[in-house]
Symmetry: C2
Subunit: 468 residues, 2 copies
């Protein structure tokens, strides 16, 4: 039962090498329910391990051989071993968040072996505050960051008393749904064909195939015909070749605080998130004495409504485009930085709305398939990076969710640094908090965890500047 | 700085696949020194991680490319990252030996990625009795089981007060040695060229190249011309194709108890070890209702003195041959089993001493390169396995050893099951105990850990039968 791999997934398999593992990760923190026993975490692990049926997505592995004419194909894993994929781990003492982030950094550094289905999940005990952590790792050939988050959401419930909920990788039985189950996402994402899953960010096979439109878009950008595309980002330490070692740092801030800054200054929540990143990166680079004179440029994926984009993605939602945002890292004043970012973002979105659907799709590909972009840029004679880093903001559930009674108290994304783009910042909102997940090459981005402190200082600086 | 890989190492790289990872493992248990602080294990980990110089053996990884004409070569890892190789892990609660063996089983199931140097070491905390565990994993292309044990020994000391001892992978500084250091193995094994390391078991490139002598030896065995070689082992559940999942079980017994049985019955310590295995396997197979009528045959590597073997290995010690031992699993009476094993072993050694050096070397290859043996046997029209399992007994240090004050209280080997040979038993002696390490394919050998109970029962049964 061999099935073909769509070109986008195949591109991620081709692009992967030792320095650039192509998997996305997720870190979830759960609070044990009241009255949880001593063996609660072990039971949780066993429940996740002992699923009756695994969804097909999590059972196949990629294969390339003479028999498949050198093409990558999906093949069911005849030796599938759930204990390889679902693991019970523990943190060394003293079990602080620091030890958790170190473990996640290490787990995120290792490539998934292609001889097995491309995913892993670790139920982690030993946090001294008693919370349970779960780190999941899925190859980008299976899901992108957005789909991974939706997949997680699809097995959670808003009802703390619901039980018998499946693990993310469990196949959902085809039976009449109870009203409780209807409150969850209607169709299990794990049962949806991969191709449909991957459309969440509007990537199509054509985009991954680097069509003429993308080349045209880049050429336009070179000639500065559209301000949505900047190809004049300064060189920074983030824009070097990377190694395979990862450092992950994560923290969240109350959305209320960020929104208050936005209200006072007439900017959006997303503008404030970008201003936080801008200020933190500025301080970080200043400390390392390597802040360039020119402002850094971030590639920011943005949602577009169907009218703007003229294309709707397969799930009937909005399409996504990419805007190049001037981060104003040359400015000392937080208020001025926020204002500049706000203007840059608005200009970018406007430019985007005047682009053709194919151009927008090509723009998305810039952010979504950066690994395959490199060679093409060089083909076009472009040696400087078109942007310094990717900052994305993925909206998550707004209300409190549970898995079999365990309250999800935090969820943090781990992303994919690539050559020339050593730092990735992905934010997700959940239950009133904005979570920042920073994934970087440990060698190229030294002391990455310092950015967390700088982000925190920046919230305070923005509040002060806005007069909140 | 590319260097060629010797044919034997290359053979292990070629033979490796998802079902047959080709690494050997070691599990060591340490007792913390008196007055060890709360951060003792973390400090121990950091000491091992922060070595100044890594021995060349632990810095290179194998590479094969068009540039190397398709040949495997060693290449220094330009992106060497010690944190990938030396890891700090913890056991889930309740932190029994069971959780430790589960973790080791899992770690031993995963292949080493070839893009990095082929080794890993895990400093493991969380044992409820307060001991520290260390699991190490090294590719067979770097070291064999014996060399791995000698490598470990080379960094240990008999002096509990000695400090500043290097990690196994540390390069030893070339300086005048103190008298204390002289008490350790004179030359650091890690600094010895790989080829020399691998000779410990007498494997030569010719043997791995499957020379005519091996084919001749096997043909002779077929015709029953030498009793050192049996090709009439019955089919058992151990002799099937395996998967990549491993189960590891380990335990030790006082050598004094085993020696007492030997003394009373006029048999050797090694005979008693084999009788324990025989009895345990008999009970195990009976419980599964799959004990064959014919007795099982074990391949047992034995040491030969220089006169017997007419060849000395490179380190001036003894060469090693292989004897096929009738395990007498058809007999109910433990005393009769032990007597049969003793006779079979003696006959085998005698036959071995009448073989030519090349034949002996070829016999070693049977045990040492079993993965490359399979195709050759089929070439010779042999479809049944020549033996049912490998049982080896590797002598270790007789006295108490320490690493920077931490007392080594147990050391257990993890070996390599292969297709057709799903269970491997390796024993090592240390400080008055005989440690049994059982490594098997988890799917092919169900409930492998039951063998530990059966081994324990068998010691008692043998004691009773011998009248100890």
């Amino acid at each position: 039962m061999v099935s073909p791999i769509d070109p986008t997934s195949a591109a991620f398999l081709f692009a992967e090498n030792r320095s650039m593992p192509m998997h996305v990760g997720g870190l979830q923190l759960f609070k044990k329910p009241e009255g949880a026993g001593r063996t609660y975490i072990r039971d949780m692990y066993e429940e996740m391990r002992d699923v009756q049926d695994i969804a097909p997505l999590f059972l196949k592995h990629p294969k390339r051989s003479i028999g498949t004419a050198g093409q990558w194909v999906w093949e069911p894993d005849e030796q599938f071993d759930i204990e390889h994929h679902v693991r019970h781990s523990a943190l060394p003492k003293p079990g602080r968040v620091r030890e958790l982030l170190e473990l996640c950094s290490r787990l995120h550094s290792t490539r998934l072996a292609r001889e097995r289905p491309l995913w892993e999940a670790h139920v982690i005990e030993g946090l001294r505050d008693g919370r349970v952590a779960m780190y999941t790792k899925t190859h980008h050939a299976l899901v992108d960051g957005i789909s991974a988050m939706r997949l997680l959401q699809s097995v959670l419930s808003t009802d703390p008393d619901e039980r018998d909920m499946p693990a993310m990788w469990g196949a959902r039985p085809k039976r009449a749904k109870t009203s409780k189950e209807l409150s969850r996402v209607e169709q299990s994402l794990a049962d949806v064909p991969i191709q449909a899953l991957r459309t969440a960010l509007g990537i199509t096979a054509e985009a991954a195939g680097m069509p003429g439109a993308l080349v045209k878009t880049i050429s336009k950008g070179l000639k500065n015909e559209t301000s949505a595309l900047s190809l004049y980002a300064p060189r920074t330490l983030f824009n070097q070749n990377i190694t395979g070692s990862r450092r992950f740092a994560a923290q969240d801030w109350p959305i209320e605080r960020l929104r208050a800054i936005g209200k006072k200054t007439g900017t959006t929540l997303n503008d404030v998130v970008l201003a936080m990143c801008s200020g933190a990166i500025r301080t970080y680079l200043l400390e390392l004495d390597s802040l360039p004179e020119q402002p850094l440029v971030a590639m920011v994926p943005v949602g577009l409504n169907a009218k703007q984009s003229q294309v709707a993605s397969a799930d009937g939602g909005n399409a996504v485009g990419a805007v190049m945002v001037q981060l104003a890292t040359d400015l000392h004043d937080p208020a001025k930085r926020l204002a500049t970012i706000h203007k840059s973002m608005r200009d970018g979105k406007e430019a985007l709305s005047s682009m053709t659907p194919v151009q927008i799709m090509a723009m998305s590909a810039l952010g979504q398939a950066p690994a395959i972009l490199g060679p093409m840029l060089r083909m076009q004679g472009i040696v400087r990076p078109p942007y310094n880093l990717i900052i994305s903001n993925v909206p998550g559930p707004k209300t409190t969710h549970y898995w079999n009674g365990a309250q999800l108290v935090g969820t943090y994304p781990l992303s994919i640094p690539i050559n020339g783009m050593a730092l990735n910042i992905t934010c997700t909102s959940y239950d009133g908090n904005m979570a920042f997940g920073l994934t970087g090459c440990r060698r190229t981005v030294p002391h990455l965890q310092r950015l967390l402190n700088h982000l925190d200082e920046e919230v305070a600086a923005l509040e002060k500047a806005a007069g909140v």
